[in-house]
């Protein structure tokens, strides 16, 4: 569906995309995950033929993407990071306007607009103007404007920024439904939980490069961390910490503010080993957590920094 090869985009001395590669198959929900400034939106704008780039190629549906490639553009739906609707048009008019850029037949369009309104749950607000809508409803309108013409490829650039949890869930469910209906989805976000929840494959971006690509399981399998054990309200000496470091499968121990974080490779009984060690030394402790690796751990291990740094 999308094939990007060695894409380079510079803003003066700043390299926004550094030999960026991407391959998205039809029917996927493909996640582009990375911190702010990692090049996600720049990559999207290049795909949409809005931005000039210095090097590389972008093929969508087998064709080189260009501003006048209307045949391909007709098949794409775009949901911008910022809400991009007319303040002067009501919900129904906004959706109809953007749909009219793709669908000329008025009768068909009327049906598509109705479907889109129903899909995002804005039936009660069809005559409302954007100013009167809450942040969550506005985001839903933004999505409806991008999907009303039933595109084969939908690009959603951080569609849940500043959205309440209820609306966020509704949006994520909607994206999965669109995928079930046959659309291929490109979903960019810096919320790893969202990407983990809905994406079938994920590319992790940093400094304009795709640093890891795969399913969430594949990505987690790429790193050493198999389990992270966190113990709160525990007072430890340097000797205690040294002893914990020698436990089987433990490869990283961090201790600060009476909080112990132990990273272990993927193996059974890591938590029992650590707790036994503390009990033998009669060291009291507070709450205990055991977490499987997250995409943040993947990012942390590959780049040495947190995803939200």
């Amino acid at each position: 569906m999308i094939k990007i090869e060695n894409l380079v985009k510079r803003y003066g001395d700043n390299v926004a995309l550094d030999h960026f590669n991407l391959n998205v198959e039809e029917g996927e929900i493909f996640g582009l995950l990375g911190p702010n400034g990692s090049g996600k939106t720049t990559a999207i704008n290049c795909m949409l033929a809005l931005l000039k780039f210095d090097r590389g190629s972008i093929k969508i549906m087998g064709e080189e993407m260009a501003p006048d490639n209307y045949k391909v553009k007709e098949q794409i739906g775009i949901v911008m990071q910022d809400v991009a609707v007319f303040e002067e048009l009501n919900v129904q008019e906004n959706i109809d306007y953007f749909c009219s850029l793709y669908v000329k037949d008025r009768k068909k369009r009327r049906e598509l607009v109705e479907d889109a309104i129903r899909f995002v749950g804005l039936e009660e607000y069809r005559k409302s103007y954007p100013k009167k809508l809450s942040g969550g409803l506005l985001r839903r309108l933004n999505i409806a404007c991008g999907i009303a013409h039933r595109p084969k490829l939908i690009i959603l650039d951080e569609p849940t920024v500043a959205v309440d949890p209820q609306s966020r869930n509704k949006i994520l469910e909607g994206i999965c439904e669109l995928n079930r209906q046959g659309s291929t989805i490109i979903y960019t976000s810096h919320y790893m939980e969202e990407v983990e929840q809905i994406c079938t494959r994920i590319a992790i971006m940093d400094h304009g490069r795709s640093i890891a690509v795969g399913t969430k399981e594949e990505l987690k399998g790429m790193i050493k961390t198999g389990e992270t054990v966190t113990i709160e309200a525990v007072i430890l000496s340097e000797g205690d910490l040294s002893e914990i470091r020698t436990l089987p499968h433990v490869f990283d121990v961090q201790y600060s503010d009476q909080k112990l974080v132990v990273r272990c490779t993927g193996a059974k009984h890591n938590l029992i080993h650590i707790l036994n060690c503390l009990q033998e030394k009669e060291i009291p402790f507070g709450r205990v957590f055991s977490e499987l690796p997250t995409l943040n751990d993947v990012f942390l291990e590959i780049t040495g920094k947190q995803l939200r740094d």
Binding site: Y11, N45, L48, A49, L50, L51, K52, P67, D68, Y70, K71, K73, E74, I76, I78, M80, Q81, D82, V83, A84, V85, F86, E87, E88, L89, E93, D96, Y97, F98, S100, L101, Y102, C145, G146
Partner: protein, 382 residues
């Protein structure tokens, strides 16, 4: 295409900010100007009443040969030639009483050196003062005539007291004007340039590097030229219709003097509207300055050009025409104002044609420049 035109029109007429400056403000300003300066030319003029007090103790023979006789003759001449003043001879006591009662606006004391007493300040008092000063300045001449050519004394006094031309103003083209029309012609020029706000709005919704809305539109499968043409046509159409309504408002509601035909006036407004709209699109599309800076530039340019066209003071246009005529030859507001003047006052078809030609050339240059910038399909940064 029809849907794009329909929605473009709807978004513009529902945008209150957009409607106010280019579409409503000129009507408000026209009305305000009409009720201030527009009424000056039509104000009812009342003849100024003055008392004349002659010096006591002079006999008839003395009076005949004195400057007092000369002054009385002068005032009689003024009265005969115009409705400017009406004089009544009184004793000093009666004159003072009449002045206190408001029956006269001033008292002339005739004599070798005539003087004036008034009870306040205002238009009538200024006229009396002006008449006295005029006499004082020409007194030496009259004395010379009386001494050397006494037979021509009557003619000299009559010439000096001729105030007929102060009452009526006649244009070179033979069409009368109230003298305030130039403000309204300049206001039409300003209103045309205020189309830049509509052009600004259009460019903001066309250039993907300016707003997310424009980016979304550019990402759609619509030919760039169609988008640009739709926006330009709707913006221009809206502004031109508004300018026609403004002209009709001036002519039929406010009854201002627009004696020229619509066939001559509308082309000037047509080109002016086009220049205003494309100027806004051009300024908004060029450079990386913020929205505030671009709006500031547009307001500054529109107001400066309107000022030079005589919007605030009609003399400014004349001063610029006299000392730096090139400025007003490339100032669209001045050209529109001048074209209106040619049609309604001068009756100067050649100058009108020249104004229209310059406006047309400016329109073409602005449209071409704007399209060259706005036709970009890919941007360096968004």
């Amino acid at each position: 295409m029809w849907d794009m035109i329909r929605y473009s029109f709807l978004t513009k007429i529902r945008n209150r900010d957009l409607i106010f400056w280019p579409l409503v403000f000129p009507f408000v300003l026209t009305t305000a100007m009409y009720f201030s300066i527009g009424q000056v030319g039509e104000a009812d003029f009342e003849t100024v009443e003055a008392a004349i007090v002659t010096e006591e103790g002079q006999n008839e023979g003395d009076i005949q040969n004195s400057g007092e006789e000369m002054f009385s003759q002068f005032l009689e001449g003024v009265e005969e030639d115009s409705d400017l003043i009406r004089t009544m001879e009184m004793t000093e006591a009666d004159a003072v009483k009449a002045l206190e009662n408001g029956e006269v606006d001033g008292i002339f004391y005739s004599g070798e050196d005539p003087s004036l007493t008034v009870s306040g300040s205002g238009f009538p008092q200024s006229i009396l003062q002006m008449i006295l000063e005029n006499y004082t300045e020409g007194k030496q001449t009259l004395e010379d005539v009386a001494r050397l050519h006494p037979e021509g004394m009557e003619a000299a006094v009559e010439a000096m007291s001729d105030y007929g031309d102060a009452v009526e103003q006649v244009s070179l083209g033979g069409r009368t004007t109230d003298g305030t029309a130039q403000f309204f012609y300049a206001l039409l020029g300003m209103a045309c340039l205020y189309g830049c706000f509509i052009g600004y709005n259009s460019a903001m919704e066309l250039q993907a590097n300016l707003t997310p809305l424009a980016a979304r539109r550019c990402a759609g499968p619509v030919n760039r030229l169609s988008l640009v043409l739709t926006e330009t046509l709707v913006s221009f159409g809206l502004h031109f219709v508004n300018m026609v309504l403004l002209l009709a408002y001036m002519k039929y509601i406010l009854k201002l003097e627009f004696t020229g035909s619509y066939a001559e006036m509308l082309p000037a407004l047509f080109l002016g509207s086009m220049i205003g709209v494309t100027m806004g699109m051009f300024v908004t599309s060029v450079g990386k300055a913020g929205e505030g800076v671009k709006i500031g530039i547009m307001v500054g340019v529109s107001m400066a050009l309107s000022f030079l066209a005589g919007l605030m003071n009609a003399d400014i246009k004349n001063v610029v025409d006299k000392n730096a005529s090139l400025i007003n030859r490339i100032n669209p507001a001045a050209l529109i104002s001048d074209a209106m003047y040619c049609i309604n006052v001068y009756d100067a078809p050649e100058r009108y044609a020249q104004d229209m030609l310059i406006l047309a050339v400016m329109s073409v240059i602005l449209i071409a420049g704007t399209f060259l910038i706005i036709r970009r399909e890919r941007y360096v940064s968004i």
